[in-house]
């Protein structure tokens, strides 16, 4: 589904990612773990196209997308959430989710001027139905008309997930969705992520806390200092020497 080939990224003289290769298979939950500053978010930015790579290639669904603009990639089916929540504050929760529908709808500025002021257009109703559906799906149906900043932290994270899903992506990039959540919320989040995969989506999940991904990830890639240090099933990764030294030793 997604292939990242010898990807490198330098910021000035600093190497955030160094010759990284990654393959993500359809229908899997692929976790990307590594300590803070390892380059995980940078890899997400490279995949969704907000920063250009220093070298390397990205192939998505058999197409090279290395040079294409972020909105093109979104339309091809790459949706994402952000580590530092980036909801639009001037739009309600529902409108934020409706924003995600932008990439598969068409209405232009003129059509809003000429459309009926009383009845929404067919497309607008469709967008709204879709948004309400995903709000319900992440358990925020009752929060639809609230401003994002009025929501609890965990709810904001779930709202970001709903927005990413409303893009109808094939690949969903989740950047530390559990950050700041309590254990119970994290548990619910895991259930939610599994349900997303059941819908036929593929997930690339960044997680700082290794324990959390052990029971939901099909495959785990561990990076440190911009380099891949291990990859495999949760069991393989857990018993990998390099991982234990570089990662697990750190915080325990």
């Amino acid at each position: 589904m997604l292939e990242v080939r010898s990807m490198s990224k330098n910021f000035g003289g600093f190497t955030a990612l160094n010759d990284l290769n990654l393959r993500i298979e359809k229908g899997q939950i692929h976790a990307l773990i590594g300590p803070n500053g390892a380059g995980k978010t940078t890899l997400f930015n490279l995949i969704s196209g907000s920063v250009p790579p220093s070298s390397g290639e990205i192939v998505f669904l058999g197409k090279k997308i290395t040079g294409s603009r972020p909105h093109k990639r979104a339309r091809l089916g790459i949706g994402r959430t952000f580590q530092n929540i980036r909801l639009i504050r001037t739009l309600t929760a529902r409108e934020n989710v409706m924003l995600g529908c932008h990439c598969w709808t068409k209405a232009g500025m003129w059509s809003s001027f000429f459309s009926s002021p009383i009845r929404p257009s067919a497309e607008e109703s469709e967008i709204r139905r879709c948004a309400d559906g995903y709000l319900e799906f992440v358990g925020l149906g009752h929060r639809a008309d609230m401003w994002p900043h009025a929501l609890a932290y965990g709810e904001q994270r779930r709202l970001e997930i709903a927005r990413a899903l409303s893009m109808e992506p094939k690949l969903v990039l989740l950047d530390e969705p559990a950050a700041g959540m309590n254990p119970q919320e994290t548990q619910e989040l895991n259930t939610l992520i599994r349900r997303i995969v059941d819908f036929g989506k593929t997930i690339l999940l960044i997680e700082h806390d290794m324990k959390m991904v052990m029971d939901i990830a099909d495959r785990i890639t561990v990076i440190n200092y911009g380099q891949k240090i291990a990859e495999g099933t949760p069991l393989e990764v857990r018993t990998n020497r390099a991982v234990i030294e570089a990662y697990l030793g750190e915080g325990e």
């Binding site: 909105h71 639009i88 739009l91 529908c101 932008h102 500025m109 009383i118 929404p120 709204r128």
Partner: protein, 290 residues
């Protein structure tokens, strides 16, 4: 209905509202444009040349002036796409001057001498009809696909792009439409002041436009409306203290910028007054039957 004097103030305020909208619109998509004074010149000179030199009726001439300004706006928008902040401000100031100096040297529309002999066509009705149409436009745009896209771009264009929003197309459209608004305001201005020179426009005009919109606020389009009325009428009400009136007006502005830097009208004020009442919005989005 009003005295001639009051009417003239209302007409000037109306033209300023249209100009304020043309500044607010790109602002809402995160673009601070100082080119509006230039786009206004295009609308003014083109529509006036059409009515004076070719004897065209006013309304088609006004529209053509607006459309040409809009087209120039789209072209001028290209270099503005990737530039932000103070650089965009300087670039758009430059565009404004380039257009002004073009008309200074363009002999067909009068060159240095300016263009006179324009007939009076601007009145309360056509100015405020235009204002009403633009209010309707903004009001309808907000709860639709492109309205949400513009709000997203205005706040976080990088995130917006990753949500699938085409920044190039959207920003150019916004820039072009706002330039067309300036062009319409220019057409009204020309057919009200009856004599125009390039000195009426350019950077000086852009700065003049800025005052009412900054005073009223740029978060919501209502700010341009209130700001235009305040900056048109308050100096007139202060006439009785003749020598000091502009000084006192300047003082009011300074105090206001300290106490309320976001302008008189901001988003929270509008939502508390209820101009964007949930119940009204629900009218537009009746829940689909289960």
């Amino acid at each position: 209905m009003f005295s001639e004097y009051t009417e003239s103030l209302f007409i000037m305020a109306g033209i300023n509202i249209i100009l304020g909208f043309s500044f607010y619109f790109p602002r809402s998509a995160g673009m601070f444009s100082m080119a509006q004074g230039g786009f206004m010149a295009i609308g003014a000179f083109i529509s006036a040349a059409l009515t004076v030199k070719l004897g065209m009726p006013f309304y088609p001439a006004l529209l053509i002036g607006g459309i040409v300004a809009g087209i120039v706006g789209v072209i001028a928008g290209f270099p503005a796409l990737r530039i932000k902040g103070v650089y965009l401000l300087l670039l758009t100031l430059g565009i404004s001057e380039v257009i002004r100096i073009f008309f200074l040297n363009f002999s067909y529309t009068g060159g240095v001498a300016g263009l006179g002999g324009i007939q009076l066509h601007t009145n309360l009705w056509n100015v405020y009809f235009t204002v009403a149409i633009l209010v309707y436009f903004f009001h309808r745009l907000a709860p639709t696909r492109m309205g949400r896209a513009i709000a997203a771009i205005g706040e976080d264009e990088e995130a917006a792009e990753m949500m699938g929003i085409d920044l190039t197309v959207t920003k150019l459209q916004v820039f072009g439409i706002s330039a067309a608004m300036s062009g319409l305001a220019g057409g009204f201005y020309a057919h009200y002041s009856l004599y125009i020179t390039s000195d009426n426009f350019g950077v000086a005009k852009s700065l003049e436009i800025l005052l009412p919109v900054l005073m009223g606020g740029t978060e919501v389009f209502w700010g341009a409306i209130l700001g235009s009325f305040v900056t048109t009428f308050v100096p007139e009400w202060l006439r009785f203290i003749q020598p000091y009136r502009m000084m006192i007006f300047g003082f009011i502005i300074v105090v206001m910028m300290i106490l309320r830097p976001q302008g008189l009208v901001d988003r929270s004020l509008v939502s508390s007054i209820g101009l964007r009442l949930r119940s009204i919005r629900l009218l537009w989005f009746p829940r689909p039957a289960p």
